[in-house]
């Protein structure tokens, strides 16, 4: 069995989860400080990919970075492209999994007791120290849950990925697109083996989420709730 789809899927999910972690945490922090009307509008835009069909997201991404679109042509000028290559799947995964990270992180930050930050400030601590040593550790549970959910969502991503990078064995093939391709071409045994691989990964991820939640339940003082 050629393991390329698994390696590719894990690579895409890991990179997109890392991007989504920083982006989601930053957005969650930044949006709380915005004026109210602005905050509501941005909240809708950021959460939209969670409820849109992945094919719609894929279509919109193609409109944005497609080879004959302005942004795609700009990339082409630098000999870069974001269609039909595996990094395109990272882009698609980031867009569809960002809402999960953003909403979970925002919930965690909203549950954070600001008095702790005030106390640290009166003790002379710089803002970066407060963020990394107090705020983030107090919100760990919510943030980690967000990352795991984003990773799982990226791993299972099919629609938008299929539209922006298609299925090329040894290049853009992921677990989910491979299952579809093998089933479509009548290789039922091959499809089943990838289905089993997928089931195993998903079970591990869900187990991880449950463990994190149970760990959090034992420490009720910590902020954070998981929005799944």
């Amino acid at each position: 069995m050629d393991w390329y789809p698994l390696i590719n899927s894990l690579r895409i999910a890991a990179i997109s989860a890392a991007i989504v972690f920083f982006l989601g945490v930053w957005l969650a922090r930044a949006i709380v400080r915005l004026p109210h009307a602005f905050r509501g509008a941005l909240d809708v835009v950021l959460t939209l990919p969670l409820v849109l069909p992945p094919t719609v997201v894929g279509y919109l991404l193609l409109r944005l970075v497609g080879p004959r679109r302005p942004l795609g042509m700009l990339l082409a000028a630098f000999d870069l492209r974001l269609t039909m290559v595996w990094p395109a799947a990272v882009l698609a995964s980031v867009v569809v999994s960002l809402p999960l990270m953003y909403r979970t992180a925002r919930g965690a930050f909203e549950g954070f007791d600001e008095t702790l930050a005030h106390a640290a400030r009166t003790l002379g601590k710089p803002e970066s120290w407060i963020f990394w040593r107090v705020t983030m550790p107090c919100c760990t549970q919510g943030i980690v849950a967000g990352v795991v959910l984003a990773f799982a969502r990226a791993l299972g991503e099919y629609g938008a990925t299929a539209m922006v990078c298609g299925y090329t064995p040894g290049s853009t093939a992921t677990v989910s697109t491979t299952v579809y391709q093998l089933w479509r071409t009548g290789d039922d045994a091959g499809a089943l083996s990838w289905v089993l691989v997928n089931l195993a990964i998903s079970a591990v991820v869900l187990l991880a989420v449950n463990l994190i939640e149970r760990k959090g339940a034992r420490r009720p003082a910590r902020a954070g709730r998981v929005i799944a």
Partner: protein, 361 residues
Amino acid sequence: MSLVVDIRKRLESFDLDVSFELPADHEILALLGASGCGKSMTLKCIAGIERPDEGLIELNGRALFDSDRRVDLPPQERRVGYLFQSYALFPNMTVEQNVMAAVRLPERGRRRERAHDLLAAMRLEGLAARRPAALSGGQQQRVALARVLANEPELLLLDEPFSALDGHLRWQLEMELSRTLRSFPGGVLYVSHDRDEVYRGCDTVCVLNEGVSDPKMTMGELFSAPVTLGAALISGCKNVSRARMAAPGTLLCTDWGVTLACCGEVGEETSHAGIRAHHLMVEGERGCPSENPLACTVDQVIDSTFSTIVMLRTPGGGPLRFELEKERWRGLGVGSDVVLHVASECVMPLVERGRGGARVA
């Protein structure tokens, strides 16, 4: 050590207008007032957590906030220690790490050493490795205090330090805290709504009424001669009547329907009279003064733990509360008439001062 505070801030339910000075080292000044009168907000403005609309906050000659000169130091640069009502210990760090985080020394080893010295001084050595969640309320308070002191502030702010603790724990902690505060080199601001706690622990007091501060006074003055209505009420004065000057040295108390001689300073601005419940005496009692008779009717007799409380109706219709030792009350029942007296030095002339009202010099 010197602190000058003179700030104004518009709030939702009232306007904050606070001004006082703390000129001496070792002085413990109480900010006393009912819940939600702006005490905590005042502390937050001094610490830099909240921003006043205008005014001046100066600590040891350093402007922390000055709206005229557009100075507004961040809390990090103010060197003002703040003991929060909830103690605000970092839940993700151990006791030792909490204190170490506040020590202003570059080397880790010396920070740890200093933290351990402070924990030992507070008898907390055994708890160094614990997390705040595993401590009792009293222990949390001591850790929070150790952390504030580790930061070597020039001024210490305490926000209702005992509000999160149970009654029976409080007494010992109060004595310990008082010792610690006495040894603190700078000034201390102590926010509380409990007049007894403040009387035991503080030197001077500034009463806050719906955001407006009274002039600073000593503890003795608050209880013997409060100047404002708010100060009289917060100092525990149970009887107040609207009043105005009848002649120099006499007050016409309209709610009580009597004119009383008064030793205190009566003037045009006097708006109320106050009499403490235990300063009243029954006619004929030993030591009862002959001046200021109040002919009253007994409304209700309440048997309290160590005293008897008698609620009376005055000629003017207003109620009067009379508290005395149980054996002094001669068992007069509801509806009986009784004449009470009050010494003229126990009649307190008061000034009502709300927002925009005349400031008392």
